[in-house]
Symmetry: C2
Subunit: 208 residues, 2 copies
DNA sequence: TCGTGTGAAGACGTTCACAGCT
DNA sequence: AGCTGTGAACGTCTTCACACGA
C-alpha cells in the first residue's frame, strides 16, 4: 500500500471542518464552496482544498461541495463510526470537571470509568461515571480493551501511571499533567498544558 | 530595531525548558548539557541549541549551560518578572474547575475575577476568586487594565463575549469554547479544544 | 576531548496561480 | 463564469555536521 500519510495538522483541521459542516447541515445548507467553509473554519480556501486532496476528491467544479457527502467522507477518515471507550485517571479538580463536562459525549466519546488513588475523597456530585480505585486500572483497561486515556494526575505521578496504562494496552493519552511523558513511538500523546498556554499568551501580550 | 522574530513553537518550548531547569535546580544541579536538557524536554539536542540562539549565547563549550543563568535568561525572554492579572469568563463545570486549579498560581498568574451570566447559580465551594455578573465585565477589564482572559462559555456565546473583551482591551484569549473565534490580528487566541484533542487521538489510535 | 554555536541541507506545511471540469 | 484540484513556489521549522572555544 502506498498511501501518503495525512499530516497531523490536517487531521486537526478535518475535525474543525466537520463541525462547521454539521452546523451548515443544521441550517439546511445543501452545498458549500471552499471559500465559505474555509472562512467558517478560520483558514484559507487553498488550504482547505489541499487538505481534502489528501484523501480524495469530493467537490464539483464550478459548484462546490455537497455538505452531507463531505461530512460523511470526513467522518470516515476520522474513523468515528463506532464509539471509543475512554478512561479518566485522577479525579481532582480538573478530572472531576472533565467527568461532568458534556463535550466528550456530544462528540461521540464515552468515559466508561474513572480512577483515583483515593476514590473516597472525591466529590461525586453530578458524576455518573463509576469511580474505581487506581489499583484496578490495569485489569480494567485490559478486560475492556481500552485504547484511550485522559490523564489528570499531578505531575510527579504522571509518568508512572503512563507506564502502567501503556503496558495495559492504551495507545492514546490525553495528558493534562504539566510533564513531558516518555512513551514508546507507537503511543500518541496529546498534551493539554494550561499553564503553558497562559504563559505563551502572556509572551505575545507582553510586548508594549 | 532589527530583532529577528522568535518562532511561536520556540516560545512554547522555552516554557518547557524552564520547567525542566527548575526541576534540575531543585535537585541541586549546577550545570546541564544540551543533550541532557533536551532529553528531559522531549526534543533533540540540536533543536534546543537552535532555540537558544534566537536570543543569545548562554553555554560554555565543552561544559554545558549554567542551570541558574539559563533559567534567568529564559524568564527574561518570556517576560514574567511581574504577575499578569487574568479574568475568567463562564463559571460552568470547566470554568469552576479552573478557578480551583492551582497550576496557574504556581506559574505566576493570578485570576483576579470570574464572570458568569448567572453568578448565583455557581457552586462556590473551594473558590476564593470574586465572582461577578457578566454585565460588569467591560468595566472591570478597563478599570484594571486586564490583558488576558480565559474563556469558558458555551460555543454559541463565545464570539459575542470575545468581541466585548477585545473591545475592552484584552489582547490574549485562552479559549476553551469549541469555536473558531474571529478576532483582530493584534489579538492572540490560544485554543484548548478538548473534544478536538480526543478526536485527534482516536484517529491515531484507530488504525489496526 | 567535549559540548556549544551555526551555516547549510532537508523536511514539512502553506500559499499561489492556473489548468480543467461543470 | 465559477470553483475545484494541483503542481510549483515559497516560507518556516527541524536536523545535520562540523568549526570553534574551553
Amino acid at each position: 500500500m502506498e498511501k501518503v500519510e495525512i499530516p497531523r495538522k490536517t487531521i486537526y483541521r478535518l475535525s474543525i471542518y466537520q463541525r462547521c459542516l454539521t452546523k451548515l447541515h443544521e441550517n439546511g445548507a445543501e452545498t458549500v464552496s471552499s471559500s465559505a467553509l474555509a472562512a467558517a473554519a478560520g483558514v484559507k480556501p487553498a488550504q482547505l482544498r489541499k487538505d481534502l486532496t489528501y484523501f480524495g476528491q469530493f467537490g464539483t467544479r464550478g459548484l462546490g461541495y455537497s455538505v452531507e457527502e463531505l461530512r460523511n467522507a470526513i467522518r470516515d477518515v476520522l474513523g468515528r463510526t463506532h464509539l471509543q471507550p475512554v478512561v479518566l485517571i485522577g479525579a481532582g479538580n480538573l478530572g472531576t470537571a472533565l467527568l461532568r463536562y458534556q463535550g466528550f459525549q456530544k462528540e461521540g466519546f464515552e468515559v466508561v470509568a474513572a480512577f483515583d488513588a483515593v476514590p473516597e475523597g472525591v466529590v461525586k456530585r453530578g458524576i455518573s461515571v463509576p469511580l474505581h480505585d487506581i489499583d484496578d486500572l490495569t485489569r480494567f483497561v485490559q478486560e475492556n480493551e481500552v485504547r484511550l486515556a485522559i490523564l489528570c494526575v499531578p505531575a510527579d505521578g504522571a509518568q508512572e501511571v503512563a507506564n502502567e496504562i501503556v503496558g495495559a494496552g492504551v495507545t492514546g493519552i490525553l495528558n493534562f499533567s504539566p510533564t513531558v511523558l516518555q512513551v514508546p513511538e507507537s503511543v500518541t500523546v496529546n498534551n493539554v498544558d494550561l499553564a503553558l498556554e497562559l504563559e505563551n499568551l502572556s509572551y505575545f501580550v507582553g510586548r508594549d
